[in-house]
């Protein structure tokens, strides 16, 4: 038996019913599925928020315990002028003072313009902009100990934080009674500034 167009009136309402049921069913499934999906996402988001809140609380409680030491160290960094704008005059004065103290036989230095600093490996700087002003030094020494004293003095007596990248220590080509060693060192003055600070 072959169905023809003439048979359509006999089955059209059942076909329409089938189509309607397909459309209605599809809509029902789609709407309820989306509702369930959204509710699940909301619950997952709420669970994540709860986990985050717990983490933050734990961190805050930890911070509360450590805040006294954080504040002390932070104030020390401020006092050392590591936090805030760089103070080149302080560095120049400090280096001149060390020269006068005769920590090394003699030395010269060159400070380059300040640039953004990215530690390697990277560190989380949070809300701070990290900067560095590179400095190269040529130092005449009577003996190796003077080099250590010079950097010790820069660390102990000067306002600022000098990060030493490296040194080359060699015998002076024309050694004399005043200078037997020559050092060439490079590094940079490190500062960090809060991005919200004026």
């Amino acid at each position: 038996m072959i169905l023809s167009k003439a048979d359509l009136p006999d089955i059209k309402w059942s076909m329409i019913a089938l189509l309607i049921s397909l459309v209605v069913s599809g809509s029902l499934v789609s709407i309820s599925g989306k509702f369930e999906e959204r509710a699940l996402k909301d619950r997952q988001a709420a669970q994540k928020q709860l986990n985050d809140a717990r983490d933050q609380l734990g961190t805050a409680e930890n911070d509360q315990e450590n805040m006294a030491s954080y504040a002390m160290e932070y104030n020390a960094l401020v006092a050392q002028k590591v936090i805030g704008d760089e103070q080149r005059l302080d560095w120049m004065e400090g280096l001149e003072k060390l020269r006068q103290q005769g920590v090394a036989r003699d030395f010269t230095y060159t400070i380059s313009p300040q640039h953004a600093y990215a530690p390697s490996p990277p560190l989380d700087a949070g809300n701070f902009q990290l900067n560095r002003s590179d400095m190269s030094m040529q130092i005449d020494l009577l003996h190796e100990e003077q080099l250590l004293r010079l950097f010790g003095g820069m660390h102990a007596q000067m306002a600022g934080w000098f990060i030493l990248d490296g040194c080359t220590l060699s015998r002076a080509e024309a050694a004399n009674e005043f200078s037997t060693l020559k050092a060439e060192c490079s590094g940079g003055w490190f500062t960090m500034k809060n991005k919200n600070a004026p």
Partner: protein, 493 residues
Amino acid sequence: MARTLLFLSADSFHATIWRGGRLGVAQHFSNNTRGREQFSAFLKEHRDPAYLLVDVIEEDFRLEIVPHLIGPSRRDLMARKFEQFYRGTPFRQARLLRRQKEGRRDDEMLFSALTNPARISPWLDALHANHIPLVGIYSLPNISTPLIRNIASDHVLLLSWEKDAGLRQTYFKNKRLHFSRLIPIGEDSTFSESVATETRRTQQYLKSLSLPPPGEMLDVHIICHNSNRQELQDKLESSSDLRYTYLDIQELGLSVESKSTFLDSDATPLFLHLLTHKPPSAHYANLDHMHFYVLWQLRHIFYGLAALILAVSASWSGIAYWQGRAYAANTEPLERQAETIRERTQRIHRSFANTTVPAADMKTAVLLSRKLDRYSPTSEDILRELSFALDRFTQVKVNKIAWHVSAADAAPSAYPAQVITFDGELQGFGGGYRKALDYFNRFQQDLARRGYAVSVQSLPLDVSSKGSISGEITNSDGKPAQFTLKIVWRQKE
């Protein structure tokens, strides 16, 4: 669901509505233009599936043994047989009685047909014109088999009386229909008289066919009402090869779930019930006759599918909605809990002493400075152990020493390493190459023990197979034995 049951005999055609096991009042239609118009009007009011039961003399039965075939070959064979036996009628069928157990194992077939299509066609035309779904065209012998299924006999002659047709005698061998005949009952005769005379005649005819074989009993079962039973018993007497049994029409009706009350021995209502109860799959209608029934089935399949799809999707949606509600119910407590914890966190933050710098920034700056402090160790830290080693190995003279920070050499430490390039020379060994190299090796081992990673950039004397001996130990010419070491210093965790 209601059904329209149509009964066609030689002189009569009537329609009855069957609903819930009960038959309605039969409406008779005469076989003329007016009768057919009335039938059309009736069909306009009753559009349920229709069953046509035919009880006419013009039904032929033919037993044939045919080869056992399947598929298209069998279909072609049946078509040839139909053309051979019943060319002039579309109302024909073939039923497999049994397959022989020996020889070629051929099929024993019963071919039958309604040989006077003109008797049926007018009513079929009316059904077709009104788009009535015709389930099938059945003959009374064809649907009788269920009535004798529980009778423990291999040779049964079933007798029934249809008021509008006559006395129907149907012979079953091994519960399979073999032959049937209809005897009209005239006005001058009664049901019991006809049974008495016609049964003997039929028995004679069967004997001529050796049915049943000699020595076996022919069981005659008569469908009758209780009111006729005594009269029949009085007229009929069993013999050595013939045995009469009386089947109560009311009990038979109950067995086919009929709720009708049978008032006399007319078996027409019983067979109509039987038709709705268990219609046989084989009948005389072909697909053209059943066209609107196929459409009706298709329509119901579509409606069924629609209902099923709706039910499944509604169930699925219900479950998804219920699950979604459960998720939503779980979400609110989580959000409340998170909010409570956030408030606690804020209270702690507010309790921090520093008022100008946020506590988070203060912490970031401090942790950063702590880590960065380890990025740039003091020169003293880097060189201390090297200095101690040089104090021990006094024959090593430093020519040049350089160090620089190196992130590439940091691993496995988390902080950058310091790479020291050590240019030196060995003094005071003269031509003692072996002694000088041994001293140099011990110097390296000492550095390694002190935590440095040492690799040789250039040896004072290359004694490997790949090298070329240059003899740089201070020799008689006073030339120094120079070497270069790469020494890596790493932060301890």
